[in-house]
């Protein structure tokens, strides 16, 4: 008899929900997708065709899915607004949880999930920061850990989406929490990974513009923003987020240490092809984050499964996810107010940092 597999349910079947569902269905050998839920008729129709024939039970109601017998884990890929609520319900129903980022666009709500999880230490509750599972980021992290670059001191990272002329980002901005919470959250999480998640914030400041989507201002958002984060202990991170890249998705990172530097994706490329033509030499680049991070999402699904089945530690700590939201929200506030924001070493906001 084959070893038991982790029985997983998927909440939300939008763009990322479909992908998570298929990853657990087809590309996670030790898991099996047994359930999926969405309140949306069209998403359920898709599931009827692509999931149901493989034995996946479908639900319109999330709470019903949680009651399915044998369900062990839930991947939450619904709208951000319900992440926290669904996560807490799953925890209360004694399920392991893999929740899409961010837990919430609000720090307190994010913290409430951590608090719920803390009461059930036997459960694996993880926020899915996909880049933590990317082979290149991991290679860079290991090289840094091995001492190759000395002490990491300056961190530069950007999450830049391809220009979407449909106006999608304007509508999306109403709920996204803003460009720093939606995009830069990844870069912030990476900074906390490379600097250590206990790095204490000293100040944040940010500026931004609406170069192509002035309507973003209705939702207090920008289409290009740069943020600066200063840590106690002599480290700084700076972030760029954009919604107007011409060539495609440009997510790149530099970790600058006292003895060397590591870069990830500073020369983006879709694949190994170069095109020589009368205008020069050209290469194509990923168009969307999933083109870039598909394998990372699959690794995430597999490692989450392993941690649940074997009761081994998760590769990231849920507390870091709350800290990332806290920094993202502060940057977003600074972006809109124009003010620099200071924190004391305990993490409390202060009027003016002592230097």
């Amino acid at each position: 008899m084959s070893p038991a597999k982790l029985k997983v349910g998927c909440a939300g079947l939008g763009r990322m929900g479909k992908r998570h569902a298929l990853h657990f269905l087809e590309r996670t050998p030790r898991a099996e997708l047994v359930a999926a839920t969405s309140p949306d008729e069209e998403e359920l129709r898709w599931a009827k065709e692509h999931l149901e024939p493989f034995g996946v039970k479908l639900y319109k109601d999330y709470d019903e899915m949680l009651k399915q017998e044998g369900l062990q884990a839930v991947v939450i890929a619904s709208a951000t607004a319900v992440h926290a609520e669904q996560a807490i319900k799953a925890i209360e129903a004694d399920k392991h949880v893999l929740c899409e980022k961010p837990i919430s666009t609000n720090v307190e709500i994010s913290q409430s999930v951590v608090d719920a999880a803390a009461k059930k230490p036997h459960l694996k509750v993880m926020c899915g920061f996909s880049r933590r599972f990317d082979a290149s980021y991991r290679d860079a992290f290991e090289k840094m850990q091995s001492g190759l670059i000395g002490r990491p001191s300056v961190f530069r990272s950007q999450t830049c989406d391809k220009l979407d002329p449909t106006g999608f980002f304007v509508a999306y901005a109403e709920f996204s929490g803003g460009i720093f919470v939606d995009c830069s959250i990844h870069d912030i999480d990476l900074a906390l990974w490379f600097f250590g998640q206990d790095a204490k914030i000293k100040s944040v400041s940010a500026v931004g513009i609406t170069a192509v989507q002035p309507d973003l201002r209705k939702h207090n958002d920008r289409d290009n923003a740069v943020g600066l984060v200063e840590f106690y202990d002599g480290q700084i991170a700076y972030f760029y987020a954009s919604r107007m890249m011409a060539a495609g998705q440009e997510d790149s990172t530099e970790i600058i240490g006292t003895q060397g530097k590591l870069t990830v994706n500073t020369q983006p490329a879709s694949n190994l092809v170069n095109i020589y033509e009368p205008t020069g030499i050209r290469r194509e680049i990923p168009q969307h984050y999933y083109d870039r991070f598909e394998h990372a999402f699959v690794t995430e699904a597999n490692e989450f499964t392993t941690a649940c089945l074997d009761n081994t530690p998760l590769p990231l700590d849920l507390n870091a996810a709350v800290r990332a939201v806290k920094i993202g929200c502060a940057l977003q506030e600074s972006l809109i107010s124009g003010k620099k924001i200071f924190f004391d070493e305990a993490g409390n906001r202060v009027e003016r940092a002592t230097l």
Copy 2:
């Protein structure tokens, strides 16, 4: 009830056999590995631990495996010397066949597999030229097909292995068929793909050296070789194969057309990391062909499965595999004899081509 899956048996559990077995076990959603065979005790021990717990039946004898009820397809990853025999037996037992390259180091034996397959047109019989399944090569091929580079005219390709100081390649040379049949066979297959598999050879010539492994001469082999292939119809291909790369596996290709050029992997890289250190900027590269082509092998398994289950055409024609062996053998002969070899338009060897 879930749709039926293709029941696959794996013959040979050496380095590539293990990988094929695991691909069909874990990474081919529409297939299930149901059997595996090896005459080698140590390989069977590995299978006992890694395959048997998942319901895979193990055999010491290939013929026994073929009798397993319900078995539909066989992947042949045994020693090259038995590829053809096992393939023919599988065909006779009415199994689909995915055979590792080359079918044989001998042209006639290779042809005998084609002949056997021709009698069972309902079977899918494929020689696994992994690069045909690589995303970058496919992208290049599609771009060429779309007319982006005009008529492909010159083809340069190389298969270059990392230096292995253990002497492995010397022992291996006894059975490999020589560097052109073992390594360049991939490049030759690519040339036939990009130029069209009906491209007629006009001449081949080759030279080579033993720069690091003089003992290769015992087996009429070389550690570095360059081959030139001229086709009727105004196309040329040239190949480089080596066993002494310092940095890692360097498999690269250029397709030069009348209006542009496509390159694949002319700037090798393991991943997206760059290391800045006092000696400069460095990137690591794949160490072995599997590091480079892992995803291609997985795609190969999935597409073979699809063709078998849905009775759709295979992505490559078995005849091309024989043609590749023919060219590889001629290059190897020229390498050793020092003579240029000529062919007439019917493919027969002639003393001297008329120009």
Copy 3:
């Protein structure tokens, strides 16, 4: 008879002074170096050997050199502290002036040179921002001007020196004006070039650390700093300056427009050589700014000469140099005070920008 050449004197024969002297002596066909001055004995000894044999008259005293008959132009490459004074004296003596950057580390003193020059409109007075003469920056500028990237909106630029473990930078910091005035001044000048020198600053803020040279704090300086500049009109620039690069000089720039992006030197390289070795593929990069910008300095000398001889416009406006110093000083102040600094549209500092 050959056409007349511009008679040039060189003030200062330190590291850059020697280079400027040799450029005008050997690599500026329409100019001839006729005089050179330095208060330093060792520098004069060098000049005795390398300049005097070619007819260059040497002076210990700058004022004496200015009196040399026929002298038409002066290149000022002395200590920054005397740039402005020497420039003003040269202008008063009716000489064209090419002054090394910055004119001064002080805004008012910088302005005094502009004022002096304004009284002699027949003279060519230029501050030598070498990157303006670099072929790659010019190519990027022309491509932007042609509309290739739409409206330039975000500007990222860095000037990063190789780590110098001798402590040179600590001593140098006493007079350099700080890392933003010494290093980032180039990036600021580039921002003013690409955004237009009339772009109005709205705010600046900066943070920095001393990762490798804590003694820099004695001179209110840092070894790594990031600065953010916001312009009225919806444009932002951000700068990184460092004294601790491991691999060499890393000066790179991105100009991000509404329809595309241009990068300069985001993949640094000394030359066209790649080294394949067991640790991977490596390339070397320039070690110092002169390795990177040598040709730009030669172009600068030639174009300055042409403007003087033919009375054609200089390629950069002296006013931009003052604006660059103003921004650099504000960033340096913010770096040390930790405060964000705001300006109104007239360029005056205000307590808090209205947004």
Copy 4:
């Protein structure tokens, strides 16, 4: 008084002649251009405007120029057909000679120049293989010399021109000596540099096509050709030459040693700019060889001057130039005849090499 300068005359004022003339006029501090000659009216008109005003005396007749008093050296940039004759006349007139490549398209005529030079050992006579003066090739050579890649064993090099749809190359082929003598001569010279100019040829073979210019066949030429050269002593070189590159000039080289590899220009680029646009990331590349090698030509002029003035050894041996022609002619013959050509260790052609 300034040190004396080398007085140089320039023979031929076509495309390269103009450049050589200007290099010696403006960019060779220790030389002065004093004379120039061309039989062509239009070229002389250009010289009247660009050279005469600077004191350069013009001649319609080469022999007259040689008589100019004080003339010390001649740079020969006339039609290839008169290179040898002009070189011999200059040698006989006791002038140093810098002759454009190739000395002749004929081996014996090339040798006659060597013989003439041998009688005047006080003269500096050099064939201008510009790549020997290129900073990247020199860096690669020094790295190889230092042992970085072990023993150089395989040499790959290509000279590939941008497609010129005007038909220029067809007319040019009448006198060029063919693609191997015109283009690959540079690669052959590089091979002799990196392998040692005494490397003994064992065999050559070549194939080629006319992919875009069928009329080249009238002149026994091809627009794409690949050549293989085998040396006694276990080294091989292979060359590709083309007249149909889409993107621009693509001259690249690989030197593969037993312990590493060096590449030159395998990722061509005009400058340090990258363009990000909706079709991907693009860089431009040099359009012509002068775009790529301008600085090498200037270095060549300066080093030739130094050798003449200081009586120091030239950086390349004239004998190597004859050997390069010999190999180029053999490759061209093999290209047309389709036959492999063999040599014994003494350099004599033999019917069939003994292996």
